[in-house]
């Protein structure tokens, strides 16, 4: 019996020692972990005023974005296609969005302003793309649409556009509160090989340049998605943008509509309450 245990122990020790030599369990990693406590968020303050930030933004981009907008937004196509999709029957129950939400789903006017929001069935946060897929599965008996697929983006875009011009008013009261806290913690969490957090760039260093990219202040981060992005040559969602920044951070990229990204979306949208929704957006 005793020998069995010691053999087992040796078998455990050998790979552990190997990991050690490879530097996977290094005491340095532990030092790093110690500075990444998740339960204590030290809020950061921007190192320049918002006015100063705007001045830099204008100096840096001039009227490039305005000129871009004048030439038309390629994402406009998604509005028409989304409208058509809202009236298109799909799935085993012979229904379309319009079957429940009126012609062209117009009863959903103004309904996007409080997304993302707490949902009791999910025991978590509901986002617009997720709600669309849940409607398809539960109400229409249709396949969910793959996130970032053209049809998923088009439907989200169209439904959201029915709230254009209205202020974001996300609630974090009651059951939403813990998810807001988690989202905030995710925003402040140091992660990835480069040990950045979202906040260190978009709060503390907003307005500074990372090489030739002006780091944006998070004040208007949530009002314009889905957006056409020049760099993608394509329209994408807010969560695609999250994943882009996570990749630049050399961090693990949580899946679309994972709990982490939904909580992050709740936090970011909440801090943009009052911004007027305007889709489709356009960005460099």
């Amino acid at each position: 019996m005793k020998t069995n245990i010691s053999i087992a122990a040796t078998m455990l020790m050998a790979p552990a020692a190997l990991l050690l030599v490879l530097g996977v369990i290094s005491p340095w990693n532990r030092v790093q972990a110690a500075t990444q406590s998740e339960d204590t968020i030290e809020e950061l303050t921007p190192s320049m005023s918002y006015e100063e930030y705007q001045k830099r933004y204008e100096k840096y981009y001039g009227d490039a974005t305005a000129r871009m907008a004048e030439e038309g937004n390629p994402a406009d196509f998604l509005l028409d296609d989304g409208k058509e999709l809202a009236g298109t029957v799909a799935g085993s129950k012979g229904k379309s969005c319009a079957s429940c939400h009126g012609k062209d789903a117009l009863q959903l006017k103004g309904k996007a302003t409080d997304y993302p929001k707490y949902n009791a069935d999910l025991k978590g946060i509901m986002t617009l793309p997720l709600q669309i897929n849940i409607c398809r599965e539960k109400q229409m008996g249709a396949e969910p649409l793959k996130y970032e697929s053209y049809d998923q983006l088009a439907l989200t875009m169209y439904i959201k556009s029915l709230s254009n011009g209205l202020p974001i008013k996300v609630s974090i009261d009651g059951p939403a509160k813990p998810f807001y806290e988690k989202g905030k913690a995710a925003y402040y969490k140091r992660r990835g090989q480069l040990n950045f957090s979202c906040a260190i760039c978009h709060v503390e260093y907003a307005g500074y340049k990372a090489r030739s990219n002006l780091i944006s202040n998070n004040k208007h981060h949530a009002d314009h998605w889905p957006s056409y992005r020049l760099k993608w040559g394509k329209t994408g969602s807010l969560q695609r943008r999250f994943r882009g920044c996570l990749k630049n951070m050399r961090a693990k990229r949580a899946a679309y509509q994972s709990e982490e990204l939904r909580n992050l979306e709740l936090y970011l949208t909440y801090i943009n309450n009052g911004d007027l929704i305007q889709v489709p957006g356009m960005r460099m």
Binding site: A8, L20, E42, L194, A210, R211, S212
Partner: protein, 128 residues
Amino acid sequence: MGIFDPIDLKGKLTLWAGAVAFLMITVIPASSSAGNVEQGEKIATTRKLGNCVACHYLPNVESPGDIGPNLVEAMQEYTMADRDDVAQWIRDAREFNPGTIMPPFGTNKILTPEQIDDLVAYLYTLKK
């Protein structure tokens, strides 16, 4: 509690880790070379390597970032006796500023100790 208790095992591993780290820390600096200036410049300006220019001004680079201090100016404050401080900024700047944005290039194995030596050698060429 037997000596094969998993917690004991963990304790032992920590000791081992400590011992190995101690060896690594004491041996590596002794073997550090003078560093290759040309390599250092390449590491500082290449996106996939150090990419220091994402945040710092360095000469002969188009549109460097402005998140961190201008490294030509910063280097004027260092003497040859400060070589290890300069290296430590790169290895892990949290030693000087726990809330720094600067990535811990050594600790997180973004760069090797040799590459960090190359960077230090390059940075000292910026001293006027």
